[in-house]
């Protein structure tokens, strides 16, 4: 289901968490879908199961998944999450705009760039 | 439950047991059957011959084989002590160290006991077929028992060497040195000096004023399995009476004296090796000695002994006059002693350290060895000076 990038220096559980978040937010994993078991994911990725468990705990903490004892983990409803994620994204955009102003990029230039990018995609 | 484990693998020893059996069989029963058949050709009463002579007795070659088999078997069972990989493997297994030792020790004995018992039974059958009496049967049993005890004694002795040394090459060299060289040297000294000087023979037999070299060699000789075997055989050779018949009673008497002695000696030796085994440090595997504390004493001991031996052997010249006078070729004696001390000391240094540059590492020790050697060597010279 997910592939690890071995060149990525971040801790593995961070990678796993992020990749699942992407899958969930993009809709590949829908609400109610069951997550792979810790054991099967650990063996398929050849990583320590404690790491996977930690990733799942983080995902649960961030409300991306929920666990039913005896049955496994499942994808949660992401509506509120989406709002949060969007807010985070805009926050990051603010940072980029600030950086751009240092490079003398005006808001108009940014807007034009977005329009062109949208056109070509 | 664990005790069964090590014996399960006895099937790996079947080949060895087979070889031992064949060797032993060839030297005992086959040669025996040969002598019976030659006797039969002469047409005399075979049972009279069997009951009157000692054809089921020990033979030189058999003894030699037993001693050599004990060297080999001790090596086979305990060579894991000399191999780093193997000792790692054996000690990481969930078996107690005592049991590892005991099972290996007993395996070695089992490998020889089976051929011995088989051969004894074959001996019984041959003797029975040719009408041997109960005495002869008992004698066959006694002979097998003694040979077995001799094996265990030599085997225990060799296990001691395996435990004390850390390297297989050192084991074989030291075993040969300990057993063969004192025996040879003693014989050489007796043959060369005795044949040359008649009076020396008297001195040698009386034991007084002998060069210390000779006495020391005889003492070392006493402890080796080769001594036991050689002198034991010499003692039993004299049991034929004037008619060529065998004195069974005398023979049994000697054997029954010998058996408790060897059993006690073996038990003592076994206690020593068991205690030493528990003291082995596995990291010394592969090095010259298992107990590094013994390096210095051993070096000093051998340097002094060889210094005395070589110095006095090369330096002394006895003159056949009455009363006995000794002359000492002083320069030759000094040179040979100093040279031998230096060479032997350095050899040991290289053996223990592996580097030629380190031969002068223990200068004080070298001086002390020289002093002790000269002090010991000067003693017989001074003894004879009294009579001049």
């Amino acid at each position: 289901m997910i592939l690890l990038d071995y060149k990525d220096r971040r801790p593995i559980y961070e990678q796993v968490t992020e990749k699942f978040k992407t899958l969930i937010l993009s809709g590949v994993l829908k609400e109610g879908d069951s997550m792979p078991s810790v054991r099967s994911l650990a063996t398929s990725l050849s990583v320590n199961p404690n790491t996977i468990q930690r990733a799942y705990a983080k995902l649960e903490q961030d409300d991306f998944i929920y666990t039913v004892s005896g049955k496994g983990s499942f994808v949660s409803c992401i509506d509120t999450l989406m709002t949060e994620q969007k807010r985070d994204w805009f926050h990051r955009l603010d940072e980029l705009v600030k950086e751009g102003s240092i490079l003398h990029i005006s808001p108009e230039e940014i807007y034009e760039h977005i329009k062109q990018a949208d056109h070509s995609s | 439950m664990l005790k069964k484990l090590y014996f399960k693998h006895i099937h790996r020893h079947i080949g060895t047991i087979g070889v031992y059996f064949i060797l032993y069989f060839l030297l005992s029963n086959v040669s025996l059957m040969k002598s019976i058949s030659t006797y039969l050709h002469n047409g005399r009463d075979i049972s009279h011959y069997i009951n009157g002579s000692l054809i089921f007795d020990f033979s030189n070659s058999l003894f030699l084989i037993i001693v050599m088999l004990s060297f080999i078997e001790a090596y086979r069972q305990f060579h894991y002590l000399h191999e780093r990989k193997e000792i790692d493997f054996v000690y990481s297994l969930p078996v107690s160290r005592n049991w590892i030792f005991l099972s290996r020790y007993i395996s070695g004995i089992l490998c020889i006991i089976i051929p011995f018992i088989l051969n004894m039974v074959i001996g019984f059958i041959i003797a029975g077929v040719y009408g041997a009496s109960g005495y002869v049967m008992f004698h066959i049993f006694l002979v097998t028992l003694v040979e077995f005890l001799v094996f265990i004694f030599c085997y225990t002795f060799c296990v001691l060497f395996m435990i004390m040394t850390g390297h297989s090459l050192v084991y074989w060299c030291s075993l040969v040195l300990f057993n063969v060289i004192p025996l040879i040297l003693v014989q050489v000294i007796q043959l060369t000096l005795i044949s040359k000087y008649k009076e020396w023979k008297l001195i040698a037999e009386s034991g007084d004023g002998n060069p210390i070299a000779y006495r020391l060699l005889k003492d070392i000789d006493n402890f080796s399995p080769a001594y036991l075997v050689y002198h034991f055989k010499v003692a039993f050779d004299s049991d034929y009476d004037s008619y060529g018949y065998y004195d069974f009673r005398n023979h049994f008497h000697k054997l029954t004296e010998f058996i408790p002695l060897i059993v006690v000696y073996t038990l003592l030796l076994f206690t020593v090796i068991f205690l030493l085994y528990k003291m082995i440090r596995t990291e010394n595997c592969g090095r010259v000695l298992s107990f590094s504390q013994l390096q210095r004493p051993l070096q000093i001991f051998f340097t002094v002994i060889s210094g005395i031996a070589i110095g006095s052997l090369s330096g002394y010249q006895a003159e056949v006059t009455y009363p006995i006078s000794y002359s000492l070729n002083v320069p030759f004696y000094l040179l040979s002693t100093l040279l031998s001390i230096f060479i032997i000391h350095s050899m040991f240094e290289i053996l223990f350290c592996g580097e030629i540059k380190k031969i002068f590492r223990h200068k004080w020790q070298l001086f002390i060895c020289t002093g002790v050697t000269f002090a010991c060597s000067i003693q017989p010279y001074l003894y004879y000076q009294r009579y001049h």
């Binding site: 559980y13 050849s46 199961p49 | 990989k85 790692d88 990481s92 969930p94």
Partner: protein, 304 residues
């Protein structure tokens, strides 16, 4: 749990292991790394009861392991150079180990050997070095012991086999709570599979920590100075809880290894007057080099 308490091991006058204390928790994989001659193999052999420590003791599950066969049946030791009886094949070894380790899973072992394409009836002499390691790894995993001690087992396996072995370990960790202690020079592989890392150098422990904490606490930051500032000026005002482990500059590009909280470091750099900065997580290899450099192990800098 494996407790190593103040253990010292001397080889004549050389201190191979000097007063080491480590705790290895259950159901975790502990990576033992270190510089050459640091004492990793010696320490592992002491845990496997091959060497006896001069001082200190090693306690597994509350019992001292020295000459303790019942306790020793709880672990399986795989050496870097494996011993096997002459002319033995894998079947013989399976039979052999079955009698010593009651939990040995013969069926699983034979099926794994088939999957790894190793013929159980072939003489082990005919195996390559890597295949021998594979064989013993399989035997070790199938022994069903609580603890698995591996001395440089990953070194010498090809990448595909390495992944498979890691998956096997991961599977057994979940299935039966396997605890492994793995020593290796291949830090890249250990990063995936280890929970904790113990770094040894010259017989002592430089660090012993969870891998995640290590990665969270050490950061590499590269930043470019503005023209009018010197390195010292811009790197002043280090906040509390943050320490500079290493600093290197090439002109205006400065690379620093910092120990401390990630957020604190971020805010510090944001407050600084610099052109830009980049925070890069450290790989285990870089952590190793950094920590050993601290104690003077920087051979490259000595030579060149």
């Amino acid at each position: 749990m494996i407790e190593i308490k103040n253990v010292t091991k001397n080889f004549d006058d050389f201190k191979a292991v000097n007063n080491i204390t480590l705790h290895i928790r259950e159901k975790e994989t502990f990576g033992l790394v270190g510089t050459n001659g640091a004492g990793k193999s010696t320490l592992l052999r002491m845990i496997a009861d091959i060497y006896k420590p001069e001082q200190g003791e090693i306690i597994i599950d509350g019992e001292n392991i020295y000459d303790n066969p019942t306790m020793k049946s709880n672990f399986f030791f795989i050496s870097d150079e494996q011993y096997y009886p002459k002319n033995a094949n894998a079947k013989y070894l399976i039979q052999f180990y079955c009698s010593y380790y009651p939990g040995f899973n013969k069926k699983r072992c034979l099926s794994l050997l088939e999957n790894f394409d190793l013929n159980p009836s072939k003489k082990i002499d005919g195996f390559s070095k890597g295949m021998k390691k594979q064989l013993f790894m399989i035997l070790g995993i199938c022994a069903g012991t609580k603890y698995l001690l591996c001395d440089e087992t990953f070194d010498g396996l090809d990448p595909v086999i390495r992944q498979t072995v890691k998956s096997l370990i991961a599977n057994d960790m979940m299935e039966r709570g396997l605890t492994s202690v793995i020593s290796s020079h291949n830090l890249r592989e250990l990063e995936d599979i280890c929970d904790c890392i113990g770094l040894l150098h010259k017989g002592g422990v430089l660090l012993s920590d969870e891998l995640n904490s290590l990665k969270l606490n050490l950061h590499k930051v590269q930043f470019i100075l503005k023209d009018n500032l010197t390195a010292e000026e811009s790197a002043s005002g280090i906040p509390d809880g943050v320490s500079v482990v290493y600093k290197e500059h090439h002109g205006r590009l400065i690379t620093m290894t910092l120990e401390g909280n990630e957020a604190t470091i971020h805010s510090w750099f944001q407050s600084m007057d610099i052109v830009f900065y980049e925070m890069i997580p450290l790989t285990l290899e870089e952590i190793f080099i950094s920590k050993t450099r601290e104690v003077g192990y920087n051979v490259k800098e000595i030579i060149f």
